[in-house]
């Protein structure tokens, strides 16, 4: 029996299932993607362009480029891709370059996060209780201002990373009442659970208006494993999530996500099981029950006046390009705020506001500044985003460079 592949060999693209090599070869080198890529806009070099990335991967797959010999250059090439997916939207062949880059990372065994941070975050999927304990230990150490002291102790290096994934001030933890006979599941994202409880509360209450909601606390979606690890880790995590969904309400309950990236990942669950026919049907069934905040947002809100105008939407997302969630969000805001809702213009469209695909490399600040520039150009006062992580990262940059604007998660419309 052959070992399972560490990377995906079959990809679900906008134009059907293709092998990884086929998908890469569909790049015609027309260069239209260069106009959309934030990395290329910042530094117009070929390795920073989606075209260059695809060509590099093609050379690698054809054996013309050795990973070991060009490790540093390939690492720079891979980290320059923020997986924002803007290139897919302009590509004539809708080539999923971000997906190629994820597989390229796996093929090259690149570890883009600090090792102890990677293992700490992986614990959320493998040992959620231990993860919870470790995070809270870090939280207390931080509160006692002894984090750096503990972190130097051999074997306690992970402690300093708990600080990286925790907010500066301790938020009130998100606690939802228990529900009997639930008919709706809410899967809070990592950031909603630990950093931005208001997003979790808003998402929960939006769902709880009409449904009996059960909250799956401290449950990994598998997105982290998919982005940073071996594909087998992601498959394992996703399998347990699918099974849990199957056993809750006979697998017929909608599963709400508050993060657009998690939503897109779960929607693509069948892709991860393309080579496992027995899991295909289950994954398809599971993907059909995934909903995003925009699907449950009511059409009218009483308190919409409390948002400062003009309003801007930055629907930055990885993994998927043309999805209904990205289309419905602007429609909702347009209906709510009418003329006060500013549509992004050429090039600013879907400007990157960071998210799960974000690798903190040398490009990080540049991308953030591009997003800030877009906000400033539109003179927006309130910026809506579809992911908590994007809200955190963009919020940090806006506070620094354009403090008059505030970032809100779309769930905050609930108040």
């Amino acid at each position: 029996m052959t070992a399972r592949a560490k990377n995906l060999t079959l990809l679900h693209t906008a134009l059907g299932v293709r092998s990884l090599y086929d998908s890469v070869c569909f790049c015609n080198r027309c260069g239209l993607c260069t106009s959309a890529c934030p990395a290329y806009q910042e530094n117009p070099l070929e390795p920073n362009s989606p075209r260059g990335r695809n060509q590099a991967m093609r050379l690698f797959l054809e054996g013309k480029l050795k990973g070991k010999e060009h490790r540093a250059a390939l690492r720079a090439l891979l980290t320059s891709c923020s997986l924002c997916g803007k290139c897919i939207r302009v590509c004539p062949g809708q080539i999923p370059t971000p997906k190629h880059m994820l597989e390229f990372r796996r093929l090259l065994n690149f570890q883009l996060l600090p090792v102890s941070l990677f293992y700490l975050l992986r614990l959320r999927g493998t040992a959620p209780r231990l993860f919870n304990f470790m995070v809270h230990t870090g939280l207390w150490a931080n509160r006692l201002k002894m984090l750096s002291l503990f972190a130097v102790i051999p074997g306690m290096g992970w402690l300093k990373h708990t600080c990286e994934i925790l907010p500066k001030q301790t938020p009130k933890p998100f606690n939802a009442p228990l529900q009997t006979h639930p008919n709706f599941i809410y899967l809070p994202s990592l950031e909603a659970e630990f950093f931005l409880p208001e997003v979790a509360y808003n998402s929960y209450f939006l769902a709880a208006k009409k449904h009996r909601v059960v909250v799956w606390k401290n449950t990994a979606s598998g997105l982290f494993e998919y982005l940073y690890g071996d594909i087998r880790f992601a498959q394992k995590t996703l399998r347990s999530l699918i099974l849990r969904h199957q056993y809750t309400g006979n697998g017929s309950l909608p599963l709400l996500c508050d993060n657009i990236d998690v939503y897109h990942f779960l929607k693509q669950a069948p892709q991860l099981f393309e080579e496992f026919p027995s899991w295909q049907e289950k994954a398809h069934h599971f993907a059909q029950h995934i909903v995003f905040i925009t699907d449950i947002l009511p059409k009218r809100f009483k308190n919409r006046t409390r948002f400062e105008k003009p309003i801007l939407l930055m629907p930055s997302s990885i993994l998927e390009s043309a999805d209904t969630a990205l289309k419905t969000a602007p429609q909702i805001l347009q209906t709510l705020f009418k003329k006060n809702f500013v549509e992004c213009g050429y090039k600013q469209d879907y400007a990157i506001a960071a998210g799960y695909g974000f690798v903190r490399g040398s490009h990080a600040n540049a991308y953030q500044l591009q997003a800030v520039r877009t906000v400033a150009q539109n003179q927006a006062q309130t910026v809506f985003v579809l992911s908590g992580l994007a809200a955190l990262e963009l919020g940090y940059s806006l506070r620094r460079f354009y403090p008059s604007a505030r970032v809100r998660h779309i769930a905050d419309l609930n108040g």
């Binding site: 569909f26 027309c30 239209l32 106009s35 117009p44 070929e46 004539p92 213009g345």
Partner: protein
């Protein structure tokens, strides 16, 4: 050649060590453009400031290092590949818009500015830059000029070469030259347009900008056959209506586009036209009525006007996504670019369709119907050798059909390396020799984008020279005699401007025939010695108009003296004799030509320094043209490029 540490150090001294790349990954990623060819350079230099180019080229010249200038590399001709190795000068970082002057109507830009970015900067000011290549969101202005790109609006506004007013150029040996359209002499900017970086490097460009028309009306017209749609466009032009854009699609492309973009195109028709008129509301209304009538006369099935701006954009969305619609069907799309005279378009398309029908590969046709430029999109997989070979052969066959139908192998994509061999089908030995001499004059070491445009051993493969008339033959003999005797001479028309008293004067007076008035293509072919008054009378009789003034002098004299620069853009074809008697035959009745150096521009305003123009083909119109005042004649001050060209073309190598 490998770059030695010493050379690398010298390059690094100018651009910084980080901007000189020689690692295998960088070299692989700068080995391609949008065409099939792929060749690795020896180094990649990231140019960050325009002033770095001249010293870089001096180093290249010193060490005989070939170089290729590369911007977005979106061309379909293989113009950006380093065939002889050497270095790639990546100028994408030169992307600053330096100045926009709406009052004087120009913008100063660096060559790496993305065309779409310039449009975006001009739009809020109520202005636009007329050339609009389909890849305008990714291609650069410098690249557009180097390839002489145009686009859908070309029929009304012309290609990139008509929209550049000034240019800063660095020649292959590092000589910096400042060129302007107002400085007199030959139209060197026009000559460098379409040179694909083989003659020099643009470092700064001043481009013309125009106010955005306030009123635009777009129509979608369907026809039962492709030929009828083309005939309708020809009649439209014949009646003097020049639409802003005329785009056409065949059935295959139409279906692919509709499946992809859902633009609302009817799919049960054989051909579709998208026509756009601009101007004053009254003018648009008047032209719309004529347009509707003409389309119905030619069997149009549906004529749908766009009622709102949204509908207009919806119609264009389909057209703009045509490439995308085809690209998703196959890993590779080979985009051809043939041009024929408008009247030959139905015949040419018929022949092309027959070729495509017998081919194992799927292909669609898309064309700028207004200027006889069509783009076959051939779908293939580059990994499959048979398919790649078939696609290349198919394209060659199609382009040969264009040449047989008195057209050109390239209307706007350029020649590069992909169509290089076909240049010998289009041009005779004399014309190709002249192009080779131009290259030699400006780049004697053959370092600037070497081995492009001109085919190898072209003298053996070139098509036979055109048959000269008895008068031309006599003049050629005279030139050869003088060349043999090393006698100097002066070229004149009626000698009305130069008023020379030289002993040896070569006059074009004997060439005084009006050869053809083509009312299908709206072109006139006349010998250069024809008097302007005679020509104007003949045009008046045929109810045709041009911008030529009814003054003293000859057609050739007016063209070569440089007193009417506005006329240059109207000249489509030229026949000339070089000072050593070599015959040149360039262009024809087709509206666009990006195959080789634009030789019409070499003689425009050349004041007899490059030989004698014997015949000109130029555009005429059915509508009255605004009279253009002639400039006073004065000998132009020579510049570096003119002097070098003069020396080489006169045979002093």
């Amino acid at each position: 050649m490998k770059l030695t540490p010493r050379i690398k150090k010298e390059f690094a001294h100018i651009v910084g060590p980080a901007n000189v790349q020689t690692d295998a990954l960088s070299l692989s990623l700068y080995a391609y453009d949008c065409a099939l060819s792929r060749t690795q350079p020896d180094g990649v230099i990231q140019v960050t400031h325009a002033y770095q180019i001249a010293p870089l080229l001096r180093i290249c010249s010193k060490y005989h290092i070939p170089f290729v200038v590369r911007a977005s590399a979106t061309n379909h001709a293989g113009s950006c590949t380093a065939l002889r190795g050497g270095v790639i000068l990546n100028v994408t970082a030169l992307n600053r818009i330096l100045r926009i002057d709406t009052q004087a109507g120009f913008a100063v830009v660096e060559p790496g500015v993305i065309t779409g970015n310039l449009q975006a900067a001009l739009a809020p000011l109520g202005y636009f830059y007329a050339p609009d290549p389909a890849s305008s969101f990714s291609c650069t202005i410098g690249g557009n000029l180097a390839q002489n790109a145009s686009g859908a609006r070309c029929m009304k506004y012309g290609g990139t070469l008509n929209h550049v007013l000034q240019a800063q150029v660095v020649l292959a040996d590092g000589t910096e030259v400042s060129l302007s359209r107002t400085q007199g002499g030959p139209d060197i900017i026009g000559l460098l347009a379409g040179s694909e970086g083989t003659l020099g490097v643009f470092t700064q460009l001043t481009v013309k900008i125009l106010p955005i028309p306030k009123h635009i009306q777009t129509f979608l017209v369907t026809f039962p056959s492709l030929a009828q749609s083309i005939q309708a466009v020809t009649t439209l032009a014949a009646r003097g209506i020049i639409p802003r854009c005329v785009e056409a699609m065949d059935k295959t492309t139409l279906r692919a586009v509709e499946d992809f973009s859902h633009a609302g195109y009817p799919t049960d028709v054989e051909a579709l036209l998208i026509l756009e008129l601009d101007g004053t509301p009254a003018q648009i209304k008047k032209e719309s009525l004529v347009l509707g009538k003409i389309c119905r006369e030619h069997g149009a099935q549906k004529l749908i006007p766009a009622k709102t701006e949204q509908e207009r954009l919806q119609l264009w969305r389909g057209r703009q996504s045509a490439y995308a619609a085809m690209a998703r069907l196959s890993p590779n799309v080979m985009v051809g670019d043939g041009t024929v005279p408008r009247s030959q378009l139905p015949t040419a398309l018929n022949r092309v369709q027959q070729i495509l029908q017998h081919s194992p590969l799927k292909a669609g046709l898309l064309f700028h119907a207004g200027d006889g430029n069509f783009h076959p999109h051939i779908l293939f997989d580059q990994r499959n050798n048979f398919q790649t070979r078939t696609a290349s052969q198919l394209l060659q066959q199609i382009l040969k059909v264009c040449v047989q139908e008195q057209g050109s192998i390239s209307g706007e994509h350029g020649v590069g390396v992909e169509k290089r061999a076909l240049m010998a089908c289009q041009y005779d030995g004399g014309t190709l020799t002249a192009m080779a001499r131009i290259k030699h004059a400006l780049d004697p070491q053959h370092l600037s984008n070497p081995l492009k445009i001109l085919p190898q051993h072209f003298l053996e493969k070139a098509r036979p020279s055109v048959l000269l008339s008895s008068e031309e033959d006599a003049l050629q003999q005279q030139l050869r005699t003088w060349k043999k005797e090393h006698t100097s001479f002066v070229i004149v028309g009626q000698n009305s401007k130069l008023k020379t008293k030289e002993k040896n004067v070569l006059s074009s007076r004997s060439l005084n025939q009006l050869l053809e008035i083509d009312t299908a293509n709206y072109t006139v072919t006349a010998q250069a010695g024809i008097e302007l008054s005679t020509l104007c009378a003949a045009l008046k009789k045929a109810k045709l108009y041009s911008i030529l003034p009814n003054t003293k002098g000859t057609l050739g004299g007016l063209f070569c003296s440089g007193i009417l620069p506005a006329f240059y853009a109207h000249v489509l074809g030229i026949r000339a004799l070089l000072p050593d008697g070599t015959t040149i035959s360039y262009g024809g009745k087709f509206m666009k030509n990006a195959a080789g150096y634009p030789l019409t521009r070499l003689w425009a305003g050349s004041q007899g320094t490059f030989g004698l123009v014997t015949q000109l083909t130029f555009q005429v119109f059915a509508q009255k043209q605004k009279p253009v005042a002639c400039l006073p004649f004065q000998p132009a001050a020579p510049n570096e490029i003119w002097t070098r060209l003069q020396r080489t073309l006169q045979g002093v190598l």
